[in-house]
Amino acid sequence: MPLTLEIVTPEDRVYSDTVDTVVIPTVEGEIGILPGHIPLLTQVADGELRVTKGSETKGLVVGEGFAEIDGDRVKVLAEFAIHEAQIDENAVEKAMQRAEEALKGREKLESTEVERLESLVRFSVAQLGVKRKRR
């Protein structure tokens, strides 16, 4: 029996399909989910979420959030989620550079701004990591 995977962000429902297995990055390390997993509610960390369907493996970059696993249903609630294919490496690199540049003058910035930039950098690193690994 396949798993039903659903990934939602505040902005959209990013992914909704049946898959064979899924690997979720959590705050305590990566966990692999197969059909029939016991009910689990876990905290998702920034990183790569891998989906295997048949012989094909796809990656998605997800932001912080939660995952609810219940038998053959996996629901992921994430701040961002972006398909591997949609990652524009150049744009990400540029955004990351800008954020790091701004972080250099960290003392002058407000704490919320620093936090925002840091999360941007984390997200960029995760995106680049996924994209480069595939080559």
Binding site: E6, T9, L41, T42, Q43, F66, E79, F80
Partner: protein, 290 residues
């Protein structure tokens, strides 16, 4: 009576204005549709969050969370959601009326240039003002929510409330005030999410379930997310209100321009007729006197 040339100039300038307001009306209409679509797309998130919150709520003692701690209110913390640009009718003015009704000491965080200008003018305690792009990216709204939550936890403010133009329909936007923190109880939060998602009321899952790292940790991380989503939801609502208010204002302006053109055209024709009549009279008088 004004000369025909003056009237012609007036007509031309009013026609230009009508063209601009018409274009702005169309732009606002399409942006409004987009804002409503984004609000609809967020329903799945609300639904899932409601399920998770309901599930985890049965396993922790909610009394001990800082978000649920009721304390005497000395300073209110208010997030004011306004627009960056004007030309949207009485939308911002109505919000400001609501702000003026607040007599207790309050501190503000504001989204939108109009709001920060207003608060500066009325000398209110403005903690921070934020710019949110027209597309309303979640990350930008999140920093507003997190800023206010931080103020709340540090004790700078004793409540977190939001004032925004509630979208009823295209013609009606109500300035509204909603308390976000402290939460009365979790059930209320879950009900709110269910209402926003228009989803069915599922029973909380009380089967055996693993929590990683622990129910408490999941709960503690989930509640800030709930507040972020609440703020995001209301900012989206405010955007839809802004665009529909602008659309209506521009439509009125366009209709007024059309009416004005009609009146001016009538006046122009009268003036033209008068000058022709005058000329004939003059010629006739000249002939007669010979």
């Amino acid at each position: 009576m004004a000369s025909t040339r003056d009237i012609r100039h007036r007509i031309k300038s009013v026609k230009n204005t009508r063209q601009i307001t018409k274009a702005m009306e169309l732009v606002a209409a399409s942006k409004m549709k987009k804002a409503q679509q984004v609000a609809l797309a967020g329903r799945a998130y609300a639904q899932l969050m409601a399920d998770m919150l309901a599930t985890v709520a049965t396993r922790v003692n909610e009394k001990f969370h800082a978000f649920l701690a009721q304390r005497p209110v000395k300073t209110r913390g208010i997030i004011l959601v306004t627009t960056d640009k004007g030309l949207c009718g009485p939308l911002n003015g109505n919000l400001f009326k609501l702000v003026l009704d607040i007599k207790e000491p309050a501190k503000f965080a504001v989204i939108g240039r109009k709001g920060s200008q207003f608060l500066a003018r009325t000398r209110r305690d403005l903690l921070a003002d934020f710019q949110v792009h027209d597309r309303v990216p979640f990350a930008e709204v999140k920093s507003v929510a997190e800023f206010m939550v931080k103020q709340f936890l540090e004790g700078a403010v004793d409540t977190v409330e939001i004032i925004w133009p509630r979208f009823r329909n295209t013609l009606i936007q109500e300035p509204s005030l909603l308390p976000l923190l402290p939460l009365q109880n979790l059930k209320q939060a879950v009900d709110k999410l269910r209402y926003d998602s228009r989803g069915p009321a599922a029973k909380p899952d009380d089967r055996y379930m693993l929590f990683e790292p622990s129910p408490r940790a999941v709960f503690d991380a989930l509640l800030p997310l709930y507040i972020n989503r609440e703020v995001y939801h209301h900012v989206l609502d405010a955007k839809a209100s802004e665009h529909s208010a602008r659309m209506v204002a521009m439509k009125t302006a366009k209709d007024n321009a059309t009416k004005l053109i009609d009146e001016l055209t009538l006046e122009y024709n009268k003036a033209r007729q008068a000058s022709i009549t005058q000329e004939i009279l003059e010629i006739a008088a000249a002939q007669y006197s010979q």
